[in-house]
Assembly symmetry: D3
């Protein structure tokens, strides 16, 4: 985890900036501008109200410095680190107005990303020892995929495709249109470049065999019971990467992973995870 | 609920378009382009896998027609409507490629917005008879505030501020800097226009009285136990709108609302609600 | 006036940057690039050719530093300050090219904003002693509302709504569609959140009473003669904010304000005010 | 005037769209959405309350159809046409909500552009018979240069440079840096392409001669009294275009033009002109 | 070639629109607006002055309809088709102004994309029978990668990575930092998701063996002479995809391909290819 | 050449930034992030593999510092300078990751711009002594016109129009619609401002005379043989600028220029020039 870094600012700053604009609206923070003197200063603690895994801390704190470069942020935790309830994540100091005005944007980003990392960490822990990677899907929040995928990595998970263009995933509908797994894989192989991996979704062992014969590099075992998963893994015998998907939750993840699959993937990690409770406490007004 | 409409396309289309770009990446849908013939057509059902309250259906379906205007969408449910598990929400027909390529974006938007509406409806139901409105907060997903606030209305809830600029909400930190509730309200009154409402957050009955005397139009009763809430409501006696906030969940919402407050507000509605399970089934390939 | 600050750079810099791009076009400043050596330096005085009220000085000067961060700006006046003809507003020094190339953009912004502030100050002075606030409207220049509203505040005025979404203003057409003032106010109350203020436009005393009974928080007295205004104010008796609007000019503002209304609002302040004459004089070439 | 057309929609639609977003904010038109039923229809007249010259009518009306393509606009006047007070400029019909929501944006654009065209027409009329063209400058409203320059043409005027890159205008500061008119013109000639015209600003007859000798194609006679202007025109004798500028107002325009100059240019036309009073009257609710 | 389609308009229209804005500038087509009556119509032929392979025809023609939707385009050739010198590619008819104003943008796009497709086709032809795919690289024109990669496909070629994020390509510098091919591949395998393919650049046979042992899925044989290429292919023996790169030109492509590699890749295809000569001839004025 | 400077960063940075985003995609540089430690540093040499004329060096190097401001760039060559094969153009040092991640974007920009400058220099050299300027056209790469025109200047060439709006160029189609050269020029003169130059394209001597009589300021001699060019130049006799265009290549440029025309213009300079071979060599890893 020690070499985990957020994506380049060039990629995430537009998200933070858009979030600030969304919150500031046309007129800015009317409350703070009216109530807090322009020359007031403050120091605030960014704290985790509950224990969790940190993700997106430098990203969230960019809200303060994008609003006013005079604000100073002193990070006290690192992305990918586990913190206890009450832990100080960062100290934020400088002019009071931008600290108060950027607070909600920073917390909204941080709470969501830490929530995802924390949930991922739990699933990863639950499958420890099985050798299965825990991966997310494309079921992410519109506009936040980059950051949510990063939060999954911060939680110890692994990333599936970033989008429709960076790998082939042949799903049931594609198979139906193509008239079979083999023909679908053949078309994909002919149509895409040599740097694009091909995965195909299957629902039974016959399709697993068909996918293998067709040269699929990854086989998505969709909604299979643990027993059938085990058979599929045995059938594949290392000739392709195996991925279990469909209806996997923190509760059943260990059972699924025990089947010996290489990867388990959960949409739940990004579409239904609760935010971690984080807050900003003014220390010195 | 019968006059509920999504915001103007001018406001929500950029969100849908950005989500499509995020998923299509640089090269578009490599799988579909390679496997599905350009002239293939399809009809698909957008379905709710679980019962819930519909929200954002026209918004989500815009993903299909933004990607290809030849796709036709036939809505079978309305925003604000309750549907059973298995209900068809829309029929989508036309060229197969854009239907398959826009599927995930449409589902990601729809699942999230229906999830919020469904959760809101449940909280609203739980406080039925109390006279309390159920409101969301600014704890929304960055970039989606417009749509999430709309989903709350589709769930029968009401909206708090859309951002920092459309009303004054004096919080504890502002009170601390200003040196008291009365002075903070006074500064706000002097500093903002006559169309801006002023709310102040208080934590005890003395502050309630101070806020009333200062002319606050809305009083946010922060993290008060039901007993103190009841006293606060009695003290206010209709001279200001009362809002309970802080730690309210579906579980304790009814108890809070029973105190007689005008509004209860929950960040949970937008930051920690699970998505509704929605899917796209190809009917005719 | 001493705590007046421009909105956050995040909100106004895009306006300045767009103005620079509009003036630089595709090829930049062909004159300066051809005639002035790249290493020439200069110091220039930003001056007010006529007396007036300053507004937007830091905003306008951002044109120089956005074009070239090596330019240094030394502000010699503050927004909200009255200056005499010939007053130096700022000293601008550094590489000569960006100073000359950004000059027109800076002056166009500054002249317009000072013009609005100066005109506002005059109207404010003319109603001194009446207790009436002077407010602008939404009749602003497309793209500049944020800055024009700020200039009004720099002139001692107050802001009306920033847009269609931050307060309700029920106008004659809305009343007509709804079938009366009372019904329109009732619908608004039901349809918007508890942080949104409701104003209704009326044209006679019967409507004033109807608006009061319906619970309108602000009553816009449209195009009423001073006599009727006085009666309206008496009728309202402090139970709502009263605003006079329609055809108010610097000439009749005092007479209108003398009626005892809380606010007078003038579209003229933003749509028809002459620019203040400002210029840039090279001191040291 | 009969072939006057607005610039391509590709160029002006972003301005209209940005103005709509500025007014709609995050949440759209709260008043109309709450008070006017979604299925209500309306017909409205866009009217000139005062006599004037029309400019930007198709541009302003685009606000309605950009907000909702179902709105129909029936233009009753043409850009470049003179209309009497009370004249109907367009009929706007369709769903009532977008008509009411786009009204202010349409009027803000139209009032400003008609104001400029009307003022330009008056100056043009005042110099009739002199042979002088009436031109605007770069003293335009940030973001609206394209449309304001068009309005000047609709008023019968002519355009100066659109920006810093489409022609050379050597001003006093450039002359000072270069060490004289002749050297400045020489540098410009060497530095720019053969499709770029070169104008130089002069303040006395010696400089006029120097500019002529250096091959300037246009000579800007800055702030010269009519007598000196006449001498300058005689000196130039058709070998360059002559332009009078500096302090020209509607009052003194005729006197300046009588000097025989080819062009008179006025910043006043775009920075200080009052808007034309235009309004939207609902005819059928 | 028969199922070749341009990427979705959502992805390529911004490129065409930006090109139109770049050419129209602030003021639009001054020549056409002044010289061609607004109601003039025209029909024009888009022609290939030289023989070549068509690419980007629907994309280029979008310039006409984006500028004015009334223009009608009748395609007479298909992307991926070979045409003779003088061939009509499309008929463009409608209002004359937008046809003339969009001409250059359409031709600039079309000439470049057809140039790439034509050159690709020639290289593909030269390696016919060898089994080698012809691929482009990331040495594309900034902003046009999407379209240039498409043009390569239209020429019968194949695409390498679209960018830094959709596959791993470990180059010499990465190997040096990691301390060897094996360690670099190991780090990559651990750091990226299971849908990301890993390619490694090698310069000798020892590295080929090391890459194979480390499990690289694609091996880039950098700047190897045909003899060494043949040895490398024999060594790999189908256990990885082999790609020859570095200094490949149309002249030596056949010799390189004869080595038995799976892919040859040429930066030349996108960074140094001459445009195809295309033109627009007015048929009916 | 010593005062050659790139356009303001405000104009070129968006191009560099867009190129970085295009290459980084959604997920950034997966290879470098996985293989190179976050704290690794490096020094690299930007080198010219072949001799050529430098153009766009500060622009291209901005890719490194835009990606990470900690990278330091030490320029060792200047735009407009001729360098030998193997020459070091710049030293780039700092954190290794951004140096490797921005490498391709920097090289793509630099190779293209140096390629244009180098080709321009060669044509300029070939016409030395004739007095003819070498100019480019509007046949530029979509999105890069600003930079490509700059590269032409770096090569010693001159710029034609930057777009459709900054000068009038009446081409054959315009002449045909207008019914003759004289009428077309007359319409242009009447329709555009006094700072806009008028050029007209002619194909024979009669049209040259007609253009002269109509007052055209520049005459484009289209596709004329050297003999007719000489006659045209004699006919014009300095009363207008003469420009030869159409089918000019490096091979025939000298012959064309020998005719005595003022300008020769070549689309080839920007649409078909090979990139200069530039590379980044890591010096210290």
């Amino acid at each position: 985890m020690n070499d985990l870094r957020p994506p380049p600012p060039l990629l995430y700053e537009p998200i933070v900036e858009a979030a600030l604009r969304e919150d500031l609206g046309r007129a800015g923070d009317q409350t703070t501008d009216a109530v807090v003197p322009a020359d007031a200063t403050a120091t605030a603690r960014l704290v985790a109200r509950r224990a969790g895994r940190v993700a997106g801390l430098p990203v969230a704190c960019r809200a303060f410095t994008l609003l006013d470069p005079r604000v100073e942020v002193d990070l006290r935790a690192a992305d990918g680190e586990d913190v206890a309830a009450g832990a100080t994540l960062a100290l934020v100091s400088g002019p009071a107005r931008p600290i108060l005005s950027a607070e909600r944007v920073a917390l909204n980003l941080l709470g969501r990303l830490c929530g995802i990392a924390t949930a991922t960490r739990e699933v990863v822990a639950s499958v420890a020892g099985t050798g299965a990677r825990v991966a997310c899907t494309r079921k992410t929040t519109p506009g936040l995929r980059l950051l949510e995928k990063y939060a999954v990595r911060a939680g110890g998970g692994s990333n599936h495709r970033f989008g429709l263009d960076d790998a082939v995933l042949i799903k049931d509908n594609h198979v139906a249109v193509a008239g079979g797994v083999a023909e679908a894989v053949r078309r994909a192989r002919a149509g895409v470049g040599h740097l694009v991996k091909i995965e195909v979704e299957v629902t039974n062992l016959a399709q697993v065999q068909e996918a293998l014969d067709a040269g699929a590099e990854v086989i998505l075992l969709d909604n299979m019971a643990p027993g059938m998963l085990r058979e599929a893994v045995a059938l594949v015998a290392g000739r392709a990467v195996t991925e279990a998907s469909g209806g996997i939750t923190p509760e059943n993840a260990a059972a699924v992973a025990a089947s010996g699959v290489d990867v388990i993937s959960l949409g739940w990690l990004t579409h239904s995870v609760p935010a971690l409770d984080v807050a900003l406490d003014i220390v010195v007004g």
